[in-house]
Symmetry: C2
Subunit: 403 residues, 2 copies
């Protein structure tokens, strides 16, 4: 029987891998009777996705109408924030402000401010008392003070909102048809450097908000393993390579990505004086004959596999399995919705999947770890450990070659 | 001191009108110390808009992220409904269905069904158990079985979604800039007959869903007053005139609206054999010199005043006050968000206000009754009674001339 030790949020599997996971309709679930190495089901229950969730208990109609009028209320909250109404109310704290007071301080008509304040009430970000004094609700505070909520709001408003109206066309075609609202490119990765503002700024703010916090936790862990050679697959703008090279003066990093991305990354590393220990290896991860260079202590894939459909993930993982030598490790860093402590995080990730469907490339999604672990096994990898709660909800799956 | 009798949901004011209402920042609130004729504040508290609402108690972050990813989750739920996933799950009841089972019954790729099912989990319309069996949550049931939720969903999806992205431009210009997504006309009323599908069908389904249910309650009440002559201001397609003429064979109805609307209404009445007791009076309610014909027992304005800004409402009410003879009554029928029993209804109305801002004409909104009662008083009308809970949340304000 496999043994599972829980060490500080990590679940190290020893001996034969045995993954008790809910299979979520994924035919080949890896499940053995009586074994529960990865307590994913318990987390799902804690997140409320199992029967008897909050929607059974609370006012289902209120919940449904908030969902139905969600797009209108969303735009109302965006305007409340961007026109400074939330900020004014935050500054006034418990004192609050009437419509008359706010009118004198904002560039909004009486009509405009009225419909926005009432949208704020409906959305739950504002409260009003008998004297007509408006105050921020606790939820409203998040839209001024919580950088995650703000990064998410800007991302949905500027990158996803219009594109999401093309969900059906995207599902039918298998292409991200919503991207046309922003670019003529085939996928968002080719479009990034030429995205119109404010979409471009909001895209990078969203991406970096999560990756920066994950790198902060992960660079020390990787550095502690003292790898001599690291292959950074999908290196993008070189953000992780910079962080690792700056933190560990012994390591050498090979960045692998499309040539145009490598050019951006090379400039970045040169500007920071970190290019001496960097190498650049052009690859196309969508190539059917994909092969990765060999001889690395660690192959690193961060926020990468979510950008691909399952078939491509399997092909990339197989290439990694072939390239790994004895003792070599593949580190898969991603956000898995079934690994989140907070239901809010899982909701965020499942919502972001529809960004992949409608904006990114029509194939990627925020995976559950059950699917990723199954794909790793199918690719001939052996899972050595899974650590959760890195950065803001990232997990790190460390694999060796099963050979 | 004024006396307030509560009779079966009605609040009849006798003697001097005295309205204890929260003024919501509307400068000229009608409020007298120590008097609480209209217990509106209590209703607001019941609806949770006053401090210590549910957002203080529940998980504020989950609430905020559902709002932020609301547009994506909304589109996911629209697809789940329109592609038949919700219906399949409803039919299977407690048995539920796995992704594999659903795949065999639906025209969706495995990828497409996966992201939709997970969006359904995030939106709270679906649940999943440890075996990967999906079932409708109570909220999800509403999207298949509740005609109000379905009418609202189609209205937001087909009429409002894209337009709502133009909220800021609409607020700045005072025009419904989102209408351009659907029509080149200046306002939605001129655009109605030429709206593209499915927007046209969804618009009328939404409008009629609420008005039909209100008329069912109101026609008997009006008929019981045995009016000989009724002026139907803003008669639109003649729907109310038909209902009243069919129910009361003594009444004569004069329909007042723009000439092109009257032509539609006339055809409708002729087809139903109801035109013998109908008259047609062309007016432009936006005319600065608006006057209404005199000599009517009842002037009727149903779902009309919400289409106008406050200045226009005041002008129309003044015209009604001038036209009312002794004993004549103005019946104002509308949905007021501060008169709703359910918070869900208030949320729906406040959300619909942003439809008026971005799609209809940039000036209308779903009023609170405090504002409407203040405008009626300013117009020289005396409020005789207010009855709530007609149809699905309509109120009827009956006024006489204050002269």
């Amino acid at each position: 029987m496999a043994r599972a030790d829980s060490v500080g949020g990590s679940f190290f599997l020893s001996g034969e891998e045995c993954l008790r996971v809910p299979h979520f309709g994924l035919g080949g679930a890896i499940s053995r009777p009586g074994c529960s190495c990865l307590p994913v089901c318990g987390r799902l229950r804690a997140m409320g996705f199992l029967p008897s969730d909050e929607s059974e208990r609370s006012d289902a109609v209120l919940f449904a109408e908030r969902l139905v009028f969600g797009p209108l209320l969303f735009q109302g909250v965006v305007s409340l924030r961007r026109r400074g109404v939330l900020q004014k109310l935050l500054r006034r704290g418990g004192e609050g402000a009437t419509l008359e007071t706010l009118l004198g301080e904002l560039e909004l008509s009486r009509y405009g401010l009225t419909v926005l304040l009432e949208a704020g009430l409906a959305a739950g970000v504002l409260q009003v008392d008998d004297e007509g004094v408006y105050r921020l609700a606790r939820v409203g505070l998040l839209f001024e003070r919580d950088p995650m909520t703000i990064a998410n709001l800007d991302f949905v408003a500027d990158v996803c909102y219009r594109a999401a109206a093309h969900l059906d066309a995207s599902l039918d075609s298998g292409e991200a048809r919503g991207l046309r609202e922003l670019s003529d490119e085939e996928n968002v990765y080719q479009a990034l450097s030429t995205l119109p503002e404010p979409a471009k700024t909001s895209w990078f703010a969203f991406d970096h908000f999560y990756s920066d916090r994950a790198f902060k936790d992960l660079v020390p862990r990787l550095s502690a393993r003292a790898p001599k050679q690291v292959l950074d697959v999908g290196a993008n703008t070189g953000r992780f390579a910079c962080a690792l090279l700056a933190a560990d003066e012994r390591v050498r990093v090979t960045l692998a990505d499309l040539p145009n991305q490598l050019a951006v990354a090379r400039r970045e590393l040169e500007e920071r004086g970190l290019s001496a220990r960097a190498h650049f290896h052009p690859i196309d991860l969508l190539s059917p004959e994909l092969s990765l260079p060999e001889g690395f202590d660690v192959i690193w894939m961060s926020q990468l596999l979510c950008c691909f459909g399952e078939e491509d993930v399997l092909r990339i993982l197989r290439a990694a399995a072939r390239a790994l030598g004895p003792g070599g490790e593949l580190w898969i860093v991603d956000t898995f919705w079934d690994r989140q402590k907070q239901r809010a995080a899982a909701v965020t990730l499942m919502g972001t999947s529809l960004y992949f469907t409608t904006v990114a490339n029509g194939r990627g999604r925020m995976y559950d770890s059950a699917t990723m672990l199954r794909l790793a096994q199918e690719a001939g990898l052996s899972v050595k450990s899974v650590e959760d709660s890195l950065g803001l909800g990232h997990s790190c799956i460390v694999c060796g070659s099963a050979r």
